[in-house]
Subunit: 227 residues, 6 copies
Amino acid sequence: MHELGVVYRNITRADKNAADKLAALGSATVHEAMGRVGLMKPYMRPIYAGAQVSGTAVTVLLHPGDNWMMHVVAEQIQPGDIVVAAISADNCDGFFGDLLATSFMARGARALVIDAGVRDVKTLTDMGFPVWSKGISSKGTIKATLGSVNIPVVCAGMLVNPGDVVVADDDGVVVVPAQAAIKTLEAATAREANEGEKRLKLASGILGLDMYNMREPLAKAGLKYID
Amino acid sequence: MHELGVVYRNITRADKNAADKLAALGSATVHEAMGRVGLMKPYMRPIYAGAQVSGTAVTVLLHPGDNWMMHVVAEQIQPGDIVVAAISADNCDGFFGDLLATSFMARGARALVIDAGVRDVKTLTDMGFPVWSKGISSKGTIKATLGSVNIPVVCAGMLVNPGDVVVADDDGVVVVPAQAAIKTLEAATAREANEGEKRLKLASGILGLDMYNMREPLAKAGLKYID
Amino acid sequence: MHELGVVYRNITRADKNAADKLAALGSATVHEAMGRVGLMKPYMRPIYAGAQVSGTAVTVLLHPGDNWMMHVVAEQIQPGDIVVAAISADNCDGFFGDLLATSFMARGARALVIDAGVRDVKTLTDMGFPVWSKGISSKGTIKATLGSVNIPVVCAGMLVNPGDVVVADDDGVVVVPAQAAIKTLEAATAREANEGEKRLKLASGILGLDMYNMREPLAKAGLKYID
Amino acid sequence: MHELGVVYRNITRADKNAADKLAALGSATVHEAMGRVGLMKPYMRPIYAGAQVSGTAVTVLLHPGDNWMMHVVAEQIQPGDIVVAAISADNCDGFFGDLLATSFMARGARALVIDAGVRDVKTLTDMGFPVWSKGISSKGTIKATLGSVNIPVVCAGMLVNPGDVVVADDDGVVVVPAQAAIKTLEAATAREANEGEKRLKLASGILGLDMYNMREPLAKAGLKYID
Amino acid sequence: MHELGVVYRNITRADKNAADKLAALGSATVHEAMGRVGLMKPYMRPIYAGAQVSGTAVTVLLHPGDNWMMHVVAEQIQPGDIVVAAISADNCDGFFGDLLATSFMARGARALVIDAGVRDVKTLTDMGFPVWSKGISSKGTIKATLGSVNIPVVCAGMLVNPGDVVVADDDGVVVVPAQAAIKTLEAATAREANEGEKRLKLASGILGLDMYNMREPLAKAGLKYID
Amino acid sequence: MHELGVVYRNITRADKNAADKLAALGSATVHEAMGRVGLMKPYMRPIYAGAQVSGTAVTVLLHPGDNWMMHVVAEQIQPGDIVVAAISADNCDGFFGDLLATSFMARGARALVIDAGVRDVKTLTDMGFPVWSKGISSKGTIKATLGSVNIPVVCAGMLVNPGDVVVADDDGVVVVPAQAAIKTLEAATAREANEGEKRLKLASGILGLDMYNMREPLAKAGLKYID
């Protein structure tokens, strides 16, 4: 995690089918399917509601107030990728706007996930380029310091290796390690399959207490009802 | 406030007419009508804009990362209720999603107010089930620890007794003690009646300075105009 | 900055043409055109998405929980002004709602920028009166303490002199000193003119690395590519 | 919780012996003895390290930036009391300094717990008057608005009724309901008695895994050791 | 406030006698004496307790993660000055450590006030060089971007002009405009003179209610006592 | 990073000599020697001032409000280790107190670094067991959920692999990857050697501007002096 000024051009991306299909399952189901791990901090919010994407991570480590490496990472994007940008210290400047988004889209990027700020959010919304970020800020950045591209980074509290799958929607951003992508897709799909039936039961008025057989363990734990 | 593992089945709900009608007046007017008290911390935000509800509180005390009691409180919901969930320590996990919402709606709940996180917000929005929460998070929770249901709780800095009226809209969440519900409805209605006339005057260009007779007290307080 | 209880009636507003036209360029471009200064803290957010305004500042200094001076500043508003409200200590009460907005609009105000909370946000949205604020809160305020009007204030970390131009959109709020308004309009317009061409190039797949001739300085700085 | 402008002169204080002796057990042990409830938010910090107190609560509800009621509550202090001050909205002004501390000490107060700011902390430290607060601030306050004294208040997220026992030390502030004071003292004392023996065992190198018989439940829960 | 890359070598410092003597009065008294204005945000904390200083401000505007201008401002320090460092965007890196402190002390600086982070705090404490900062961080900074020296800056929410008096102690940091220094010293001294007598009265058990004649205005405002 | 319920018993610890000697260099120097990376978020603060340690990391991943795995990790401690505890979601409960500290010390642990809260800080201070944490809280935890021991974790924003070197002092906490420990010790030692001479020069009044030959690059960057 500690190299600086290095760009790895060859990374091993997760299975493409899994990387594409995880989006439909959503971050909450994927997070559960992995055993309740992999979620970035919940301060990561979409700049507009409703986007739901998944893709393979290309990573970039930036420094506060300096977006030079965003141009370097652009070249490493392949169709289906999501750029994951980490910053070496807390900073909410606007590292990314409509021009970079135009370039990222031209390269086939599906989204940006950045532990900092972005700007031009109205234009980005019109362009349909989704971004999950820590904040929104007009403040521009300089181009003076080297970071690195496609090294493991910690973004919003979560380790992201280049090639991992990123799943992002209105609930947050989840990272699936590349080697776990297929298994996670299976587990999440199975989980999802279950939910339709549960939803029908609950809608009919059946309680979770009964559907999940919770009354006995609750009583055992000592729950008392008082009239 | 300090019992654990207890569910009170019989609570005294506020006057139903007042509990229903306070929604239309809105949280700001109700808060003023109570003498400027009763507001939860402003970090409580709706998951979608535009919802405006009121109803009687059923309360639940949860522990960090554990939503077991959400299933217990579901059974205590009656039509017209709003579930108020407090957590015994700061935590932003996603305690609530579309399955629980389906169950709550089937029981007649109008909304959830929770001093923690929720998930499946896109589905909740589509379902039209409003939630006011501290945050949004994909992170799921376990089912291991007892809390309590229908005890007095502190939610987002405000004491809520079971049966109190909760009024929530885009401006925030206000709690009206059950015994004050009717009086508050009257005071808020009177206040509201006044506002139409004031609005017309202000729209015509009359200043608040004149409409409220502020010039004299301002001068007395020492306000000086400099040309 | 330290007078209290004073209202300056005559202020020198920035060039009207510049104050009107800066809106179209947006806060990010204006901020860059000024040499990357002038931005308020990014916690200042619009109460609804999509508003984009500019205008001349009339300023007001308020005290926590006290909006008396909002009525005093209303009288000083001229068409094309934006009210900038600073608070003498951190406070998120709702200092402003639909009645004051009616009055401000009747006076010709284009927006409010306030380092505190506002309420009635649904009505304000319906009225189309944009507000940039630190938060939203139903909590009302009292009318007991003098502040000042049209003195220099620090709002959300930025000095604002009465008559300065304020530019606000979804990316944030930028302050342009009155004497720099014309020059900033020219610089921002020139900057904007450039962007169309750049956007076309980037959309065609040309990289920023090449368009901005970054490869050489990156190599000089020591960037290494590893296959 | 919603009366304003009222001072209750007669309150029922918790058992004096319990109120006095709980200090020695400390906030962590007392919190455990109550079943892990009663703790104020951990942002409440002592202005100096090492103070450890308990006493009966006299409560006061203040408004942002206004300390008028601190003088009203002073008269209600009896020897052995701790003043608990809640604010009707988040505010960090300095509501309390050395003059008020002099008056509180003269009345027999043992400490102040305030969900806001204080000042003169160097002098307060020299005087040995402990304060737990949300912050420190030179900012003074006005005297314009009524609050109430000896009503139930929510302070730093915890309900405090007048007469409850407050236990505060370097770990935080815990509230013991008056009617639970004696039982809590017994439970906490029993808990404490246990700890000496445990400490000796752990110091000798015996592991908690063995002392608490955790190996079996851990294995049952599925814990795997990998060499 | 918006020039970059400029160093003003000649600034008008406040009256030396006032700048020296305000320290003894403390930030709270000075803040009151100015009419309750001038205080920086209370997140500004001393790196060690007990320091109490005043002096004339030399100012510097820095960029996130870049402390180049700290070396430029060092040259502008005269004995009795306090360096006030503002940052163009929120950033908590360690801009200052023992080497710079050695240089500042050699130039006669009395303290640093910085709206960012510092490091080497143990050594700074041993050296007796007081710093008020937003945080502490080992993170070093680069030297790549120009800021300015001795321009007006906003530091922790407060406007500071070069030459203003800065008063800092355990309660916070107050800024006295240069032209108000003498008058503020007089007002603060008068205020202080009053306090001794008040303290004696309060210590003897006389209540603020009586000493300040508050009973009547409280009754007028509607305060009710209930037995 | 995503395994749960696993304890790795055999980890490769960094070179012991380097792990021991890095403490004396301090977190700031070590952070610089690594190329300005490796620092945990600056919200990690020591519970008492003055401790300065280094050692090899044994890691533990915990869940909010559950410290069961702290007993599991205790068994894996070897003399010279520092326990690094990460939590799967933000939580400030008191996961650690004097009993666990007694056990950790008996095993030879030098410190705890935990991205959550601790309690019994007065006793921990008396015992001389240093802790760097996100907060202090009396709130106890349950023992219900499996985490893992000696897996890679993200603690306060930084990746920590078991066996890495942790360096912690009043300035913060730095992580040195095991394989970089020796090289970092050399680089930090060299850096330190330089500092004595620099300090003497600066103390004699020589400016950093001259000592570091900054005048020319500053002029080139466009810095202007105005008299």
